[in-house]
């Protein structure tokens, strides 16, 4: 049947032509797209931020990355080049970021803010903003407040806005960790006027607002955030905290399947990925299509942890038996594919240096393990569970399976318990898991910091073995005080003391210090390893 007038097809064609001429193209022209690609970084990981503010409630690690890049701190660690050519943060050197200089006194430190420091909305940064931000950090509770406490930053009275551009922090006690603690992500500088505008009586610190809006002075601002899907950053051209970054735009996409992330990297459709399984990193390194950079995670280790409060592992000889039963080398090969530093097979458990982390003297020796089992008085064997965080299953599962096999030879029957997602925190808090495979790494790279969280009597959530010992606490406190007063001899003695105690009583058996690996396309340079293990976009360049 023929219609009168224009056929539908003709009508659509002409409409499209007319529409095309009028409507702005939704995609840039190929030339513009190519240029834009060069200034844009595409990052793919398994999870994205659930909150753009590290001081928010329950912010996840990707959220830390957003805070790091969008906010400034007063000072920042300098960058150094490691022997193998990779870049890393320098634990021992601090540089000005938002402050232009700092004067460290006996019981205080004074900062002068940079003259032209401006927030992303154009308002100047003042000392009032800094004080407000610090007050916020120590008052909101949760993780940020505890992190501040680790550097003896606890009371708002310590923070003084001397004048428009001068800010002073008073110490409550001498603590070596105070200065480095000022450079971690938590004491970010917020645009207090902007955030206060959105504060309410129920939410005096504006946490709701900063959850989805960045109100900082950092090098990047979040242009769009679709939780669980994509975060898009744009460069803040007025950034004074350092050299202006080269990347104008960073797009961060959540791709849940690790196989697909690897496929994207190998086909060149993504620029950076850093949470792939070690196996993929090892294989991609060999294949050579993408650049793989691996750095040992500072102050971090995977360990087998046992609850020392409840049977059966309240028995020290049993714990030592387990320490000798662990198939260390097999575990390193199967879980990390060589991308780790062993923390076993050292000279002696009576350590002779304050280096951290350092290997224990345990090795895989089933005969010794069986003998210790007899001494422990559990010769007939027992049964228990091995728990680990499902979110870290790629590494923990092979460890658990190999551990299960070895313990089976000792007569210890185990079932493997994979604990999903955020339940892991709950389970850790309950302190009821008998045997776990776990990972911990401390931001501040000092042994007393690790021990403060993982072994001290305050029984923090990270002290999963529920280990409490007066002697240990004395040594940890001693070390902290010695560090504060610069007494190296006492410091070394106490550190060696608590490490030895930890290795002999072995509530936790160190396995290895893992590497943090990053896969980038060959034209990407400037990747720097940071203690927080997240990506710093400011130094990255795309050729």
């Amino acid at each position: 049947m023929k219609r009168k007038g224009m056929s539908r097809r003709e009508l659509l064609k002409s409409a499209a032509a007319a529409g095309g001429a009028l409507a702005a193209p939704a995609v840039w022209s190929p030339a513009r797209a190519a240029a834009a690609r060069n200034e844009t970084l595409l990052l793919v990981t398994e999870n994205g931020p659930n909150n753009l503010d590290i001081q928010g409630v329950g912010t996840n690690r990707p959220g830390y990355e957003a805070s790091w890049n969008c906010y400034d701190r007063l000072i920042v660690n300098a960058t150094k080049t490691l022997p193998d050519g990779t870049l890393s943060y320098d634990r021992d050197k601090l540089e000005p970021e938002l402050a232009e200089d700092m004067k460290v006194g006996d019981m205080s430190v004074t900062f002068t803010l940079k003259k032209n420091a401006k927030f992303q909305d154009g308002t100047p940064v003042t000392a009032k903003d800094v004080k407000w931000s610090f007050d916020r950090a120590v008052t909101v509770g949760g993780f940020p407040t505890v992190q501040m406490k680790a550097g003896s930053l606890t009371k708002p009275e310590q923070f003084v806005a001397v004048d428009e551009r001068t800010f002073r922090v008073d110490f409550v006690q001498k603590d070596r960790l105070t200065m480095p603690d000022l450079a971690v992500i938590v004491p970010s500088i917020y645009n207090s006027e902007l955030v206060k505008k959105h504060a309410t009586a129920a939410d005096p610190w504006g946490l709701e607002y900063t959850k989805s809006n960045t109100a900082g002075s950092g090098a990047y601002k979040v242009a769009s955030w679709k939780p669980g899907v994509e975060t898009v950053y744009e460069r803040h051209d007025g950034w004074v905290g350092g050299k202006l970054p080269e990347l104008k735009r960073v797009i961060w996409r959540t791709i849940p399947s690790p196989g697909n992330r690897r496929a994207l990297m190998e086909r060149g459709d993504a620029d950076i990925s850093f949470d792939l399984p070690s196996k993929d990193f090892a294989e991609m390194k060999q294949a050579g299509k993408v650049k793989i950079i691996s750095t040992p995670i500072s102050n971090g280790m995977y360990s087998v942890e046992m609850n020392v409060k409840n049977p059966p592992f309240n028995n020290e000889k049993l714990r030592q038996a387990v320490a000798y039963a662990i198939p260390y080398q097999k575990i390193m090969d199967a879980a990390m594919f060589g991308l780790a530093k062993p923390l076993f097979g050292g000279k002696s458990n009576q350590v002779g240096s304050a280096a951290w982390p350092q290997p224990t003297a345990y090795v895989t020796d089933l005969a010794k393990a069986k003998a210790l089992m007899k001494e422990a008085g559990v010769g007939e064997g027992l049964s228990t569970t091995i728990s680990f965080d499902l979110g870290d299953g790629v590494t923990c599962e092979p460890i658990a399976e190999l551990l299960q096999e070895s313990l089976g030879q000792l007569g210890i029957q185990t079932t493997i318990n994979k604990i999903p997602g955020s339940n892991w925190r709950s389970e850790m808090a309950k302190k009821s898991m008998p045997l776990m495979v776990n990972f911990f790494s401390g931001w501040l790279d000092y042994p007393e910091y690790f021990f403060f969280w993982c072994y001290s009597g305050q029984n923090a959530i990270f002290n999963t073995p529920s280990y409490q010992s007066k002697e240990m606490d004395a040594e940890i406190d001693g070390a902290r005080q010695a560090a504060a007063s610069g007494d190296k001899a006492t410091y070394d003695k106490d550190v060696e003391g608590f490490i030895t105690r930890a290795y002999l009583e072995v509530p936790r058996v160190p396995l290895f210090q893992p590497f943090l690996s990053v896969a980038t396309q060959k034209n990407i340079t400037g990747y720097t390893y940071w203690f927080h293990r997240q990506l710093d976009y400011r130094s990255i360049r795309k050729a």
């Binding site: 899907v229 459709d269 955020s422």
Partner: protein, 337 residues
């Protein structure tokens, strides 16, 4: 007709109530404690107890349930723990993504399964019949995530035919103006051919994966109803009156055969919504399925409750619509009803 609708609605209400109760109970039985999650790493038993109180989790279950229902009536599905966003907003923004994918998959599945089913019925017992059965069954015999990953490996990684499994649109495309949330429709309204093409490219693999799964029931149903019809009286009469085979099959048998297929579609659609969950995970599709799965793993109650409730209501409405449609198409049903 109206009375019939009214009566159907009445039977639907107990179902919805049942869903609400079961969802609530199920999420409350999930392991994991939101209070501990909120309390953070420095949690002391006191701070956890305080937070639990502020979240209302220390009240007895019936009280919590009443509060939950009150919120529901006001359209408040709560907030997601992990993203902090209101569940209603997130569901609303993600639903079009899932719906677009499922509908396209359904269309593809029908385009393949219906002709296959008709062919198998017309040539019953021949090798085509057996081949149809084998193909359709094979599609349903593999876990859907495996099919998806296999497709990604073959069509993207090895052959490069499909685009990167990176979501609904490549990073360098801006989504079309948000009229419906369906990129294909919105792109059409905007008359933006490039975006339509980009969205279609991304839709291709996940839709194919889902379609493979839906082939079997549709093909099977088509074949069955065609078979029943081809031996029926009126078709025999049509043939006897001299109408050519083609007309008989397409004009008479097919139209009537479609009725049971439409009913099956309702079941297939809800079945696909379930398979959706895994496909979305594999293809990084920002739909309600992946949203619910992540929330479930993180013991995040509100999104799971919201998702289940929404899907249940959708399913109920869909079935109602299909029943109505059936009544419109088939006068026998109407008369009996």
């Amino acid at each position: 007709m109206l009375a019939k609708i009214g009566r159907r609605m009445l039977t639907v209400i107990p179902t919805i109530i049942g869903v609400v109760i079961v969802t609530f109970l199920l999420t409350r039985v999930l392991p994991g404690d939101p209070a501990i999650y909120f309390a953070g790493p420095a949690a002391t038993p006191q701070s956890i107890a305080d937070i639990r109180k502020s979240l209302g989790l220390d009240r007895p279950l019936p009280v919590q349930f009443v509060r939950y229902v009150e919120d529901l009536v006001h359209g408040d599905l709560g907030n997601s723990l992990s993203t902090g966003q209101p569940v209603v907003t997130e569901l609303a923004s993600r639903l079009p993504a899932s719906a677009e994918l499922t509908l396209l998959a359904l269309a593809v599945a029908m385009a393949v399964a219906v002709p296959l089913g008709i062919l198998a019925a017309v040539r019953q017992g021949s090798w085509i019949d057996h081949a149809c059965r084998v193909i359709a069954t094979a599609g349903v015999s593999l876990p859907v995530f495996f099919t998806g990953l296999l497709f990604v490996y073959v069509f993207y990684f090895l052959l490069g035919w499909a685009p990167a499994p990176i979501g609904r649109l490549d990073v360098f495309y801006a989504p079309p103006t948000d009229y419906t949330g369906f990129y294909l429709i919105d792109g059409l309204i905007d008359l933006d051919a490039e975006t339509i093409w980009a969205a279609l490219k991304q839709l291709f693999l996940p839709a194919l994966t889902l379609a493979v799964f839906a082939l079997a029931p549709i093909a099977r149903m088509t074949r069955a109803s065609m078979l029943a019809l081809l031996t029926s009286d009126f078709v025999r009469t049509a043939r006897a009156s001299g109408l050519d085979n083609r007309t008989v099959i397409l004009t008479y048998a097919f139209r009537n055969a479609m009725l049971p297929v439409i009913t099956t579609l309702g079941m297939v659609f809800s079945f696909l919504l379930g398979a959706n969950v895994l496909v979305e995970k594999v293809f990084a599709w920002p739909g309600v399925g992946s949203y619910a799965v992540e929330a479930l793993i993180a013991s995040d109650f509100a999104p799971v409750q919201g998702f289940v409730l929404t899907m249940a209501i959708l399913y109920v409405v869909l079935n109602l619509a299909i029943d109505m449609l059936y009544g419109v198409i088939d006068p026998r049903v109407r008369l009996e009803g």
